[in-house]
């Protein structure tokens, strides 16, 4: 069984993100990492690898620097690496088409992906790829286990836990789970260096990125947080309570 993990390289959650002439200043981002939800997808794929001998193919789409996320995936155990090299913006529809073609190319019947990327937060990749490939799609997954006839997936939400049975072929979009992410060890890091990365382009996949329906118009900083309010003395208790209830909606 081949399992494809779709990985996006995003600015690290600790990196400072700035804006230059209406778009994110990528050159100023000090550190790029695998999008956190994708890390949970990768971790689940690696458990399938050790549990049922699945072959894990890590796929990324992005500029040259994105290959680092594939090396990171290899360092924790991904078997095969595929980089769809593309520089510059790409609409979500073209992205989904390209990733779908990549999944077909590697012959994976199971696709694992984060529920959304940490930078764009659009959440469209998993469902989009499932739609194009005509695979089943389960979102907000925290854990999957291989069963006799497909998979058992656990979906954890604040209102309860749902377990679903899923037949192949399928796409799982991962939420942050209660699993511990594995850390690369030295042996894995040294092996990752030797692992080949297959590099292809959108053209190789027959994807034409023109005629996109959605494009980003501009990016702005969030509005500055208004200055806090200060209350002094026990006499202000009633006023504070009222504000907490009516303005902050926390009680």
């Amino acid at each position: 069984m081949k399992v494809a993990v779709l990985i996006k390289q995003v600015p690290d959650t600790t990196a400072k993100v700035g804006i230059i002439s209406g778009s994110v200043d990528e050159g100023a981002i000090s550190k790029w990492s695998i999008s956190p939800y994708d890390e949970y997808a990768l971790e689940s794929a690696l458990s399938l690898q050790s549990g049922s001998g699945a072959t894990v193919v890590a796929i990324t789409l992005g500029p040259e620097r994105s290959s680092k996320s594939l090396i990171d995936a290899a360092a924790v155990g991904a078997d095969e690496l595929l980089h769809v090299v593309h520089d510059g913006a790409l609409g979500s529809l073209s992205l989904q088409k390209a990733l779908s073609e990549a999944v077909t190319r590697v012959g994976a019947e199971v696709v694992l992906v984060g529920k959304q990327a940490a930078d764009t937060n659009s959440g469209s990749t998993g469902p989009g790829v499932a739609k194009i490939l005509n695979y089943s799609c389960v979102g907000l997954v925290s854990r999957i286990e291989a069963g006799s006839d497909g998979f058992e997936a656990t979906r954890s939400t604040p209102s309860g836990i749902e377990r679903v049975s899923v037949k192949l072929p399928c796409v799982f979009a991962f939420d942050k789970g209660d699993v511990e992410l594995r850390r690369p060890n030295v042996r894995g890091i040294m092996m990752a260096k030797k692992k080949p990365i297959e590099r292809i382009t959108l053209a190789d996949l027959g994807v034409d990125s023109t005629g996109e329906g959605v494009s980003t118009t501009s990016v702005d900083y969030p509005p500055e947080k208004p200055e806090g309010q200060r209350f002094e003395g026990p006499d202000s208790a009633a006023e504070v309570a009222t504000k907490l209830r009516e303005e902050a909606n926390v009680i």
Binding site: T14, K16, D72, R183, N185, V186, R187, K193, E224, E227
Partner: protein, 410 residues
């Protein structure tokens, strides 16, 4: 207080200092950009482990005076023990990578780095370099994974800087050696499965492998330390301790044996101390930006800026020193005096940075809510062990003048 509040404080523009939470490794000259991709990945893996598994647990471990066994297991499974050694299940990394590992570990705590230094440079290295084939195969693969812990017995109660005068003795008795004597200040001693013990056999210093449980061997823990509290320090006591003949290290005689080990450990310390210094700098910077006195963050005052700028200056110099020494070590173009200089300098500045950082933290600096006093206390040990600061000065003095000044002469 978060960054938003700071920015609007009293009209000061602090928009440049947005990130005042979380560890940000100081690397003013981008020295790490000189590392290879693998070295960077190892750095990030160890740094991430320290963030998750050391920082949240270290203060409590220090209060209790324990080295957590989970640290042994996790360090072992990261595959970083005996970093620069090749073969026998060892990682086979560069010395530079070993340095980076020490720096990241010591950013957490000098005791954690000490554990790795002793295991790799002082216990695995002598077996790897001076051991028999059987000894290497028997011990090294399980030491590389952390399954077996080693320690190193050179210093004695009355012989520290002059180990050549040691009194621990080995005598032959049939197919055994009998050891008598005592070693002191032995990191990992009580938790060790084996000890590399240096003792005189017919007046010549030789290395012996003593295993836990060997008759006549005990390793009581030394209590009451104000420093390296999350590290185990012990005595090793040998009372007619009988070990098989094949436990002698065949490949070395004299002080060259222990000194070779110490060169590697001191190399690691020269990097490690920078980790401590970076932690203290990071805490001082963050504290200075958030601590308000006289209506302004104390970072806005010239005296504090002067201290921070001095720290940045010394750390940057120390990083360059460590990196270049790593390259020299990897190229095999080094002399022990190069290592003495880096060990001495980097520990010296780290200790001073820890003290100045404590000062910037004011009274808060004495609490274990902040890492600085712990680092400061640790570094007092680091300044003393593996060749004291003064001994390294004498090593350099001898190098400069050709005149040894260790002894007063006859």
């Amino acid at each position: 207080m978060g960054p938003f509040e700071l920015r609007t404080l009293k009209g000061l523009d602090l928009s440049g200092c947005t990130d005042i939470m979380g560890y940000e490794a100081l690397d003013f000259y981008d020295v790490d950009s000189l590392l290879t991709d693998e070295e960077l990945m190892i750095r990030d893996a160890v740094r991430g482990w320290v963030d998750e598994s050391v920082i949240p647990k270290i203060e409590n471990a220090c209060r209790e005076g324990v080295f957590l066994d989970e640290w042994r297991q996790e360090i072992g499974s990261m595959g970083i023990l005996g970093a620069p050694l090749k073969g026998y299940g060892c990682p086979g990394l560069s010395y530079t990578a070993y340095g980076v590992i020490c720096r990241e570990l010591e950013r957490g705590d000098s005791g954690i780095r000490s554990f790795a230094s002793v295991q790799g440079s002082l216990a695995m290295y002598p077996i790897w370099d001076f051991g028999s084939e059987d000894q290497k195969e028997k011990y090294l693969p399980r030491m590389a994974t952390g399954e077996l812990i080693g320690c190193f017995g050179l210093t004695e109660p009355d012989y520290g800087s002059n180990p050549g005068d040691m009194v621990t003795k080995a005598t032959e008795d049939g197919d055994s050696f009998i050891l008598n004597g005592a070693k002191m200040w032995i990191t990992n001693g009580t938790i060790a499965d084996l000890a590399i013990v240096w003792a005189k056999l017919d007046g010549v210093i030789r290395g012996f492998i003593v295993e836990k449980g060997d008759p006549g061997f005990s390793a009581p823990e030394m209590k009451g330390k104000h420093s390296l509290k999350a590290s185990v320090t012990s005595e090793l006591v040998f009372q007619d301790c009988r070990i098989p003949k094949d436990r002698i290290l065949p490949g070395v005689k004299g002080l060259r044996g222990p000194f070779s080990c110490l060169n590697n450990a001191r190399f690691g310390i020269s990097w490690g101390a920078i980790g401590s210094a970076q932690a203290c700098y990071d805490s001082a910077r963050s504290y200075a930006l958030s601590r308000i006195q006289f209506d302004h963050p104390i970072a806005a005052y010239q005296l504090v800026q002067n201290k921070l700028a001095w720290m940045l200056r010394e750390i940057t110099k120390g990083q360059l020193l460590a990196y270049h020494l790593g390259k020299k070590k990897d190229a095999g173009e080094w002399i022990p005096e190069h290592i003495s200089l880096a060990k001495m300098n980097n520990v010296d500045i780290a200790l001073e940075i820890a003290r100045v950082s404590r000062d910037i933290h004011g009274a808060n600096g004495i609490l274990d809510e902040y890492p600085v006093m712990r680092h400061m206390a640790n570094l007092e040990s680091v300044k003393t062990y593996e060749g004291t600061h003064d001994i390294h000065n004498l090593i350099l003095g001898r190098h400069i003048t050709g005149i040894q000044a260790f002894t007063k002469g006859a």
